[in-house]
Symmetry: C2
Subunit: 339 residues, 2 copies
Amino acid sequence: MARNPTIADVAERAGVSKGAVSFAFNGRPGVASATKERILAAAAELGYAPSYSARSLSNRRADAIGLVLARPPELLRADPFFPPFIAGLESVLAPTGRSLVLRFVSAVDEMAAYTELSRSNRIDGAIVADLRVGDQRPALLAELRVPFVSLNRPDTAGLGPAVCLDDRPGVRDAVNRLIALGHTRIGHIAGPAEFLHANSRQAEWAGTLAAAGLPPGPLVETDFTAGSGAAATERLLALADRPTALLYANDLMAIAGMSVAQRKGLRVPEDLSVIGFDDTEISGYLHPALASVRTDAYGWGAAAGGRLTEHIDNQDATDLELPAAQFVPRGSIGRPGGS
Amino acid sequence: MARNPTIADVAERAGVSKGAVSFAFNGRPGVASATKERILAAAAELGYAPSYSARSLSNRRADAIGLVLARPPELLRADPFFPPFIAGLESVLAPTGRSLVLRFVSAVDEMAAYTELSRSNRIDGAIVADLRVGDQRPALLAELRVPFVSLNRPDTAGLGPAVCLDDRPGVRDAVNRLIALGHTRIGHIAGPAEFLHANSRQAEWAGTLAAAGLPPGPLVETDFTAGSGAAATERLLALADRPTALLYANDLMAIAGMSVAQRKGLRVPEDLSVIGFDDTEISGYLHPALASVRTDAYGWGAAAGGRLTEHIDNQDATDLELPAAQFVPRGSIGRPGGS
DNA sequence: TTGAAAGCGCTACCAA
DNA sequence: TTGGTAGCGCTTTCAA
């Protein structure tokens, strides 16, 4: 494999020193503009780009950030959050020459993965997503001295800036809309209680019911998969006093639940109103269209990437608050009984 | 930031030379096993891991592979292929210490992104996905001397190994099943003609109809989005002699199409049979459940990652053929007229 | 404004 | 089997 040209080749061709080439490429003062042009021209002719590893060895900067995901593959298959989140991240990283180091691991290997990435100097910052109750990752990263941002605030000490997108207003509006339509038995198909985001949605559902003076509806905890959403729906629809509306912790389960109801001969929304969460691409195209709660995953990714690079560069570690999640009403909700 | 321990720290603590530590960490012969243990113990105590950039500068290996995706964010939001594909890739890369460098770009910047990754020595191999008609990427990567694998074979010269998953048997079985059920007007909602995979599905649909002596059904080309699938469906259902069955190039459009039909008062499958492609997680949980064609994206990712690392390490550049895509029959298909 | 040279932490070669 | 050492390609300091 013919070696790529090095800084020395460019320097020779332009008739300057290696230092000058380096300065030219990093936009630093001390190079006459004519010289700089000559250098850049020589580099272009040679097809030169600075070697990433040499630069980061010298720099002590990896120009990369880490994201470790502990999701089982079957959830990944249908996950509407991470692809646009990662695309948003990349949209701010790539222009600055940074890249994202992704790791998919099982939950038990999560801490080890962050540790390994840090010790091998592979990343100079990290993103903590899917916060759990009592999450140890913020403390670990602080100990490793890896700057990080978390998606929303951990329930443990805030050791790094949080980039927050409040999902509660969307959930509250959703539940209130159901209440306004006349529903009094509003169930919730929740995500795993270990996750803060699943907890937050559940708490907001319960709180909104309580604020309206309604009894808490039935609740089932799931693992976020379509199958568990379908099973949970079966269970709630078999109750003697079955709910007339169901709020799901994601669209995947909501879609599965809607089908379960339809298969039982129930009409949506006349016999059962359904609301999801995520506002997946497909939701608006279902029959009936699925009401949902929308979070801007792409924007969240871009914001997290931006705040993280600022944190790395300037130590700016203040939290960032994004526009809250929004309820998107659609045909899957209506008055109980369809009146 | 307190610097991570270096190889010199470990050597000093273990009372050996840096060379010995390096050998111990790379599992190379020439280190007595007692010495090796002492070295590894010292490293563990110090929390040492080899510096990635120093190693790859010395090695001339990036220990990373590149994947450049030219997908618009709105397609990424609902894409059922790349998340599991990437997870499959990582599953074989991570254990060998390699990582994946992802880039999301617009189609015009695709070549530039590969060039930049190669010139900066950031990757030692690449993956070419979403092959297009007359794709220039294989030639570019060959010129850059970057080993690569393509997903399926390009229509241009085969300059690198292809990891192939034939989608035709799945499509053929799907169409033949419709024919066996008595359908004679079978339409196709195709993906963009620039993509080889979209072409392949379309050609197989047409070929299977022809082989059965049936006239080609109506065809609409889309951009793979739910919206375009819905619009295409509207168009075909408005035809005087409307098709009784529709084969879609992905599940996203198939789901949207199914809803369009239902909204028009058509019953699925009695009035319209529907088949998708991808076998998304949600498809089996719809009402009716969506028949589809399944490709193992996770397995494809793992195979592509495996073949690419072999190609990088051993120059093994032979093609790899994976199990073909499989038709998954479900409730969305039936006899025309519902008899 | 420019050039020379000393690292960055590792690998790999050569002697011992 | 071990230790010493010369790079890898870049950044950055210091002299000129």
